[in-house]
Amino acid sequence: MALITGNENNPATLKIILANNFSKAKCAVNLKPNESKNYLPFLSVNANLDLFIPNAAIWYLLPPEPTYSDATSEFLEFESLTLTPTLIHGLCGNTKHDKTKNNISFILEKLDVKLQEKLFFIGESVTVADIAVFSTLYPLYKSKKLNEEYLKNCANILKWVENFEKLPEVKDGISVIFGEKVNVGETSYQILMQSAKYTNAQFEQIKPAQANTVDKDSPTTEVTQAELEAAQNAWSKSVLELPKLKKIEKVVLPKSGEKNIFITSALPYVNNVPHLGNIIGCVLSADVYARYSRLCNNNTLFICGTDEYGTATETKALEEGLSCQAICDKYFKIHSDIYNWFNISFDHFGRTSNPEQTELAQDLFLQLNDNGFMFTQSVEQLHCEKCDRYLADRFVEGGCPNIGCNYEDARGDQCDGCGKLVNAIELKNPRCKICGKTPKLKTSSQFFIDLPKLEPLLRHWIKISSPGWSHNADVIAKAWLKEGLKPRCITRDLKWGVPVPLEAYKNKVFYVWFDAPIGYISISKAYTKEFEQWWRPKPDTKVTLYQFMAKDNVPFHAVLFPSMLLGANKGYTTVSHIMATEYLNYEDGKFSKSRGVGVFGNDARETGIPSDVWRFYLLYVRPESQDSSFSWSDLVTKNNSELLNNLGNFVNRALVFAKNSFNKIIPKMALENDDYQLLALCTRELKGYTAALEQAKLKDGIRHILSISRHGNQYMQQNQPWVKLKGDEKDKLRAGTVIGVSCNIACLLATLLQPYMPDTSSNLKKQLNCEDFVLNAENPVIVNLLPAGHQLGEPSPLFTKIEPTQADDLKKRFAGTQEDRNNKNSSNNQDIAVLEAQVAQQGDKVRSLKSSGVDKAIWQPEVKILLELKGKLEAAKKVKPTPQSEQKPVVNGLTLSAEEIKKLEESVAQQGLVVRKLKEGGAEKSVWQPEVDKLLTLKNKLAVATGSAAQAPKGKKGKK
């Protein structure tokens, strides 16, 4: 027996009741559902099947005659997809726009036409079309107010409703659903919406957003009274009242009673050059957090190093024909240089091939062995007698053992012929990859760590520690525990590694994953002999360990390393915050170290884009909660729109005004409500910033910084100090206040930027003549950082524009694999393009430096660099025999000589200066517009001239 479950006052329930009344079904009705169902109403056809979409339910209860099926369906669709959403949208939102009103009227008038001279929508009797539309319109019809508002001009509808209402089936349904009080209007649609959970989003969209759910790119600009008062209060304090920033000691040690933050980033494997994904995943993320932590005056130690032992190093050494040690030395240098260029502020960047590693790994192994968490088991392995070594999977080849595949050169781990996984000992006719001899199967005894025995300890620990982890780390660790831990083999028959400190096993070394995390301890020891203060702190000292990594490293840090430390039972510091990122993709594919796809640490440097911009972009797209991708065009857009036009623009405007109008001294400020409003908004962002960084949500932090400068730009635009400067005394004081407050906000930004863009931050601090101030994470406020009378430095632009064409060039240049690129570079075609780009960029830099009017001492070296680059470009062009000299560029049909072009260039530069000066001086648009036009004409001429010169050889090549 079918059952209708619904609620009172809901037009959708009315629909089903009416259909039921008109049909012969006579379902039972329940209008007081006791369990909270997702949807109301719904029709239970049987115990397992509910129809919860009302129109489907009435279609089932009262099917139309086949000839009317299409027409009925059309009306039902109109009712559910157009009429109902429009009514809900128009009547339930708390802002009533004229537009939504018009929408309702428009739809009702359309409906009205269809009812002309008709008693029913379709044919000569009641169909579900009438039932659906009637039910939905009824509350509107019955509300006196709404009826007058919307149904005034709909005579046909009114007539139709009146007739329909009188039918006994309808009368009964209405009394069941609405009882006596039918005049419910909007309330009824509220109930409909909530019961169907439908068009929820639209409703939420109209609601004024809450502060914490606000879209971060378009912050709300309303502040509460409390926020205003707090901002006012904070501003009355001077920067001198803040605690001083601690000097970074030579050796940082934890202190009792203070916050001691210990930060590691996953140890990069030494056999390759790190790519951007590696950099953002560990070292860069850890660096931002470490810099932030130092700004909070915490005792902060940040260490990292290269992971050097293992098969992969041996393979690489064979490949390059070097010894393992030489390979490690070579790549250690490469890693170290790259991180240096990226300004990673390690307290120590070490390596796992240090003597401390041997000592500590052996020590920890013995502790675990003594505590009974190790056991030995024999394992079958291939051994090459000639080379006197056990062959790791990659060192053995042979016939594929998989049935149906006759591939002869299958590797020990996988067959390239059929793609299936291979067990090395099952290979047919195995041979040693190094000498080609047939290896023999030998059993050797290996150590296993008894993770099942450690599992209870680990489970207990994870329960306490995991609340501080990033979500993916938590999920991955729990997935491991859910599967149950298995013993893991920790030794290998290799040569390049830490030897096992037991006589019978002295020819074996520890497997890389056992040994690698111990690197954290050994690198600390290489940094200071007092390393135990960090790793085994005294009871009165609390050390908080943060470990940054990409998600593939989580099992080692969440399960294996903690198990080892817990098993040793010596009170080692264990991680409390595992901060794991997802993966960064390259354009639309994957970064790959082994295949050389993507942008690598050393490539980044060669693009000529400053490391700060790289840092900014990588952090901006940090794959925090899901994979994200790196894209050249996005990099350029973000640089130009966010850094240049938003952040750089605001800071530069503030400082240039202070220079031109107040002689580089912060003017007297008399703050009004508007100014406090800005401070309150910025305080809100500052709070967001510290809250985000406390949880290492680095991506959010950047957005708060950008929001602050966005507020700043708006504030300047609204207050127009350039106009007020020309006014009377009162106006001038107002202009001074606006510029003074803006400089203060710039000073705030200088510190907030420090973790993200250290070079930019110090550049800005120099321009402001200020220092970093201490961040108070518990209660961040904006005090008066730069008081009136403070002497500022010389302003200069913080960022330079990157041309979108440059993005295309770079995209082409870094397409394919690293190997392809090297081959390409042998033809110096590429070099010319690169040099040209560099010359252009350096030229821009020199020009902007000169135009900002800084000292010659500053721009002179840059000019030198420019000249050098130009020289190189000339040389490169000579090598390549292009008919460059024969082809003269043509402007408007006229041939231009090199000299004429030079003249043109000069006049462009000059005109550019004129325009910039005018704009900076705050002149009216009517004044600078004609000058801009002149500049554009000149630039066009130049582009035609040089453009044809540069493109001519390319065009020729294309035709071949």
Binding site: I53, A56, D70, L81, P85, T199, N472
Partner: protein, 172 residues
């Protein structure tokens, strides 16, 4: 509010191996013109495609038809029109699919096909964690996407989260 796109009809017609004719969308109302016949409304169009197709996907009885209508309307309202609150919709859909292999009875229907074409664009961007969170949606989706005639040019979406086990082998 997003609106319905012609792509969905193209996909369905291709899957059903019939010519689509011309689809026009005006004021949120879809109109199909084919063989001098005009069909109005998304659900009407989909049923008209079904009628013309040789594939046996027509509803067996009246109850099946009502259920198909239910899921088609559900997909349009909650997934196409209302795409700003996807997480709550996914949560809800996940509950619906908890006890189901297919949307209507234990049989593949046009409602599954339609839902597939709408979801495929969303599933691509779902993180592995979300796929796991909406496990029943993932299971349903992975099941239906195996049919290559349904999938057409879409790629198979990966639902394998078992990459962990390969990182540290239990034995070597």
């Amino acid at each position: 509010m997003a609106s319905i796109s012609v792509d969905y009809f193209n996909n369905l017609a291709k899957f059903l191996k019939i010519p689509l004719g011309k689809i026009s969308i005006k004021d949120n109302v879809c109109i199909r013109t084919h063989d001098n016949k005009t069909t109005i409304g998304v659900i009407n169009i989909i049923f008209s495609l079904l009628k013309e197709s040789k594939l046996c996907l027509k509803p067996n009885n009246h109850l099946d038809e009502a259920q198909m209508r239910q899921w088609l309307e559900y997909t349009i309202i909650y997934l196409i029109h209302n795409n700003q609150n996807l997480h709550s919709t996914f949560k809800d859909l996940n509950e619906h699919l908890e006890t189901k292999t297919y949307l209507v009875n234990e049989q593949f229907s046009i409602a599954d096909a339609f839902l597939y074409y709408v979801l495929v664009k969303i599933m691509i961007n779902l993180s592995p964690l979300d796929k796991e969170k909406y496990i029943h949606v993932s299971r349903w989706f992975d099941n239906v996407q195996q049919d290559s005639t349904l999938r057409q040019s879409n790629n198979l979406i990966n639902f394998n989260t078992n990459y962990l086990a390969t990182l540290v082998p239990a034995k070597h």
